[in-house]
Amino acid sequence: MAGLSAINPQFLYVCAGIFLFAIGLWGTWLHAHYVRKIISLNVMGAGVFLTLIAVAYRGENLPPDPVPHALVLTGIVVAVSATALALVIIRRLEDATDV
């Protein structure tokens, strides 16, 4: 039973990550408004990151794998800058006057 309790949280995290990813994907596809699309994409990103963090778990007494952590950090940086760019363009679009 010790094995089960050791695996279960990781499994749960992975499932939650994939669930978030799926919701985000669904949202990106469904919503017409670009702000919503961007939020959905970030939800997707959160799902992937959560999965990655869960993957890093190597057992109760072992330190977690550092590589996925590094990936998550990089991923967050990328996601933030992309979101920023998207928001800027959305604002420009709101302000643009030509047809």
């Binding site: 992975v14 990813f21 985000g24 994907l25 990106t28 670009y34 699309k37 961007i38 994409l41 997707m44 990103g45 799902g47 992937v48 999965t51 990655l52 993957v55 794998d65 590589v67 996925p68 990936l71 990089t74 991923g75 990328v78 800058s81 992309a82 760019l85 998207a86 363009i89 959305i90 420009r92 679009l93 643009a96 030509d98 047809v99």
Partner: protein, 484 residues
């Protein structure tokens, strides 16, 4: 180590240029083209190195493979880097005169050089996560460049482009996560060695294919491409259509034939091929119906990418020498399209400037006023239709040959139909070049822009059509190469 420097320089030179152009804004244009020239030189050097010293593998910062950033340069990567650097060089020369205000130059060059950096880094990335980072860098810089069009349509296209790119990257990142969970590494070579046939592998493959198909605008995920490529400034459109989609295609090739080789089946390849066939027919048809020149060029890209995917089912069945030839022909087709399409977009930019619009029906006078630009369009058109001499002609030749050899004659029908449609859309345009206007005094009207476009078009036709034999020997140095 001396040879390995070439790998680093093709990435760091444009990156350095981008930084300098950001800081030293009043000289952005000069920095931009100097850096493009140097990068192109380094790309030739890289190809030479791969030829003479073999495949280059390099772990940056001394981190062991699997931890640090690893770069990997084989024949295919070096060829793609050279293609990208030459197209970027052509567009850079053109862009010097294309943008008229200092402000435009200041905005354009840093992003442009960043795009070049991202492309080269992507072609040389040795592990799958680096690929993700370069994909994002590519998507962000490409989208920002599209937004330089500044019109509402351009902004909208840029935003859609960004969102689609992000979506593709997310799918790709999820696939990486799955692979890492299974094999504990992200190095392409190591995964290729460890990969097993199981549902997890399948999920990763399908996620990656979906993400990259979105990025390379494979039918039916092409919807975003025409507006994005037709609303950007001319040199940007050129790079987007010629290079950025090609980067996603390059990744599909790498993943399909190297990393996921044990998983790929002829059935899946046929599905891809069928999508490609539909892309050819639908893209060509839409190009024929397009009312604007840049839209025509963009739809033609959808079709041309379709041809590239049609090589897959045939590559799956052929073996040995014939397969190598066909693989080379596929790369040649991609190169030919890169040069031809960039030339076409640059020429379209010149027409657009002189006519004030790019409505095909009303271009008659302008095409007669700009004979050399029209000539560039004709050359690019030859390469798009796949007439001799052009790289695309050879590509189609081998595609036909493989279809007959393997008895898959239905690809022949697609190819014939696609070529006829392409002829129709190219000559619908060229027909306007004949009219009653008196001949212009000088053949060069906008020489500084026409010459780079002409150089690219000549490369696509005579260069690749008659002088591409070395390509196959370059590709022989393609590394891990699961059967390549």
């Amino acid at each position: 180590m001396y040879e390995a420097a070439s790998v680093v320089w093709v990435i760091s030179l444009p990156l350095l240029g981008a930084l300098l152009a950001t800081v030293w804004r009043q000289h952005a244009a000069t920095i931009g083209w100097v850096s493009s020239v140097l990068t192109a030189g380094c790309a030739i050097w890289l190809l030479w190195v791969v030829q003479h010293a073999g495949v280059q593998e390099l772990a940056l910062g001394g981190w062991e493979i699997g931890l640090g950033i690893s770069l990997y340069a084989d024949g295919l990567a070096a060829v793609m880097v050279l293609m990208s650097s030459l197209v970027v060089l052509g567009c850079s020369m053109y862009a010097r005169q294309y943008f008229r205000t200092q402000r435009q130059h200041e905005l354009f060059w840093p992003l442009w050089l960043l795009l070049a950096t991202a492309l080269n880094a992507l072609f040389l990335a040795g592990d799958l996560f680096n690929v993700y980072v370069t994909l994002e860098l590519l998507g962000i810089s490409a989208s920002a460049l599209t937004a330089l069009g500044a019109k509402r349509a351009a902004l909208r296209a840029a935003l859609r482009y960004l969102v689609v790119g992000l979506l593709g990257s997310m799918l790709y990142l999820m696939a990486i996560t799955l692979l890492y969970a299974a094999y504990g590494t992200l190095n392409a070579v190591q995964i290729a060695e460890a990969l097993q046939v199981n549902p997890l592998g399948w999920a990763a493959l399908l996620l990656m294919l979906a993400g990259l198909a979105l990025k390379m605008a494979l039918f039916p995920l092409h919807f975003w491409l025409p507006p994005a490529h037709s609303n950007a400034p001319a040199p940007v459109s050129a790079a987007l259509s010629a290079l950025v989609v090609k980067a996603a295609f390059y990744l599909v090739v790498r993943l399909w034939f190297e990393v996921f080789a044990p998983l790929t089946t002829p059935l899946l390849a046929n599905v891809l091929g069928a999508l490609g066939a539909m892309a050819v027919l639908w893209g060509s048809w839409s190009a024929l119906r397009a009312e604007r020149l840049k839209l025509l060029a963009a739809y033609s890209s959808v079709a041309q990418l379709g041809y590239l995917v049609m090589f897959f089912p045939l590559l799956m069945v052929l073996e040995g020498e014939a397969r190598q030839w066909l693989f080379g022909a596929m790369v040649l087709f991609a190169l030919s399209h890169a040069f031809a399409k960039s030339a076409l977009f640059l020429a379209a930019g010149i027409l657009l400037r002189y006519a004030g619009h790019d409505r095909i029906r009303e271009l008659s006078g302008t095409t007669q006023f700009l004979p050399l630009t029209t000539f560039v369009i004709a050359l690019a058109g030859i390469a798009l239709v796949g007439l001799p001499p052009s790289g695309a002609f050879l590509g189609k030749w081998y595609l036909l040959d493989a279809a007959f050899q393997t008895g898959q004659w239905w690809w022949v029908l697609v190819l014939v139909a696609g070529s006829l449609l392409a002829t129709a859309y190219v000559f619908r345009l060229l027909g306007h070049a004949f009219g009653h206007l008196p001949a212009v005094k000088r053949p060069f009207v906008a020489a500084t822009q026409e010459i780079p476009a002409l150089a690219l078009a000549l490369m696509a036709t005579f260069g690749l059509g008659l002088g591409a034999m070395s390509l196959w020997s370059w590709l022989a140095h393609t590394g891990t190469g699961a059967g390549l």
